[in-house]
Amino acid sequence: MSRNDDATPARPEWPLYEVFVRGKRGLNHVHVGSLHAPDATMALHNARNLYTRRNEGVSIWVVLAEDVTASSPDEKDPYFEPSGDKVYRHPTFYPIPEDVPHI
C-alpha cells in the first residue's frame, strides 16, 4: 500500500491466480496471464478489467496458481521426446472431408 502509516495493519499479499479467456471465435479457453486478487470472485473482476478491455473475451476462468500441477522442466525429455518420431499419430495419411471442422 502506497500510503502506509503506523495505524495501518500489515496486509498479507494477495494470492496469485492464473487467467484463462475464451475469445469470441475461440473454441477453448487460453491462458492469458496471471494476477493477484483477494479471492476468486475479485480475481474474475480483475481478469475482466485486465484481459478483456479490448473486446477479446466471452468467458473467463480463474484458478489459484498454487492449484496448478505442472510438469517439471527436468522431466522434459522423458515426457515429450518419445512422441518426437511418431509422425503416424498425426491424421495426415488420409484425406479429411471438408465439412469436418476443428481438426
Binding site: 500500500m1 475469445g23 469470441k24 470472485t41 476443428h102
Partner: protein
C-alpha cells in the same frame, strides 16, 4: 476458423482490424442513430441537460484518474481507470450532443476544455477530493447506483441520441456498480479496520448525496417532455439499493439522503473544482492549435 491458435482465429475474419493482435469487432457507439432534434424538444434545454449528465461523468472521471500510479494494487488501479474511461466515453457523447442540440456546433473539446468552473454543471459529489480507497468505493456506490437508475429511464428518452447514449451506458454502469458492491461487501464485512474505514467514508460522503436528487427546473421541464428524468423520482429506488448493499456489508443502515437544493447544476461549486479543471484543461488551453 483456425483451430491451432486462438489469436489467429480472432483476427482472420476481420481484415480491416488485422493490426490488432486480438480483440476485434468493435462497434460505433451511435451508428445509425438519427441526430436530428425531434419536434417539440427544446434544444437549448436539452443541451444544458446533456452538460449536467456529461459533466458528472467528466469530473468524476478526472477524479478517478488520480488513482493511476497510486492505487493500493495494480489490479485495482486498472479497474478504477477502466471506470474512468467508461465515464469519459459517456461524457464525450453527451457533450457532443450538447453542441448539436443548442445549435452552436461546439464539439466535445470546446465543452471540456474551454468552459470555466462556473459553467460546469456537475454535482459536488463528483468534484470532492479523492480521499482513500474506501472513499472511492463509497462515492462510486452512490454515484453508479444513481446514474444506473437515471440512464435506465433515459433509454426511453424522446431524444433518440440521448436514448442511445443511455442504453450504451447502462451496461457500463451496471458493471461499475457490481465492482463497487463487491468491494463494499469485502471492506465492510472484512476486518474491523476495513469496516471502520468504510464506515467513515460513507459518513463523509453522505452529506454530498442529497444534491443528486434535487430537481432542477430544467430537469422538471425535460421530464415533462419525456426527454429527461426527474432525479427525485429515483430517490427511493437508489436508497433501497444502497441500503441493501450497506446492510449486507454489516454497515449501519444509512440515513435518508439529505434534502438539498440545486447547486452544482447551476454552476455553484466547491473550491475543489477549479484546481481539478486547471489540471484537465491546461494543455488544451496552452496549445490551442494542438490536435490529438
Amino acid at each position: 476458423m483456425s483451430g491451432e491458435n486462438i489469436f489467429t482465429g480472432l483476427t482472420e475474419e476481420h481484415d480491416g482490424d488485422a493490426r490488432w493482435a486480438f480483440g476485434t469487432g468493435f462497434t460505433e457507439a451511435l451508428a445509425g442513430v438519427d441526430t436530428t432534434l425531434p419536434a417539440g424538444v427544446d434544444g437549448a434545454d436539452l443541451a444544458v441537460y446533456c452538460q449536467m449528465l456529461g459533466d458528472d461523468a467528466l469530473v468524476q472521471s478526472q477524479r478517478l484518474v488520480q488513482w493511476v500510479t497510486d492505487a493500493p494494487e495494480l489490479e485495482e488501479e486498472v479497474a478504477l481507470a477502466n471506470i474512468a474511461l467508461d465515464l469519459l466515453g459517456q461524457a464525450r457523447l453527451l457533450l457532443a450532443r450538447a453542441g448539436q442540440a443548442d445549435g452552436s456546433g461546439r464539439d466535445e473539446d470546446a465543452f471540456a476544455y474551454h468552459r470555466d468552473p462556473e459553467h460546469f454543471r456537475n454535482v459536488h459529489l463528483t468534484e470532492a477530493p479523492r480521499g482513500d480507497f474506501a472513499r472511492a468505493v463509497a462515492t462510486l456506490l452512490v454515484l453508479s447506483s444513481w446514474r444506473l437508475a437515471v440512464f435506465t429511464r433515459l433509454a426511453d428518452s424522446a431524444d433518440p441520441v440521448l436514448a442511445a447514449i443511455a442504453a450504451k451506458g447502462v451496461n457500463e454502469l451496471a458493471y461499475h456498480r457490481e465492482y463497487v458492491v463487491a468491494w463494499t461487501l469485502r471492506l465492510g464485512d472484512g476486518t474491523p479496520y476495513s469496516h471502520e474505514r468504510l464506515r467513515t467514508a460513507v459518513a463523509d460522503v453522505w452529506p454530498l448525496t442529497g444534491e443528486l436528487f434535487a430537481t432542477h427546473p430544467l430537469e422538471a421541464a425535460l421530464a415533462a417532455q419525456g426527454v429527461g428524468v426527474d432525479p427525485a423520482s429515483v430517490r427511493d429506488e437508489v436508497h433501497e439499493v444502497v441500503t441493501r448493499v450497506l446492510t449486507a456489508a454489516t454497515l449501519p443502515a444509512p440515513e435518508p439522503f439529505p434534502g438539498q437544493t440545486v447547486a452544482g447544476r447551476d454552476g455553484e461549486h466547491s473550491a475543489h473544482l477549479a484546481p481539478l479543471l486547471e489540471e484537465l484543461q491546461r494543455v488544451a488551453r496552452e496549445h490551442p492549435e494542438a490536435t490529438w
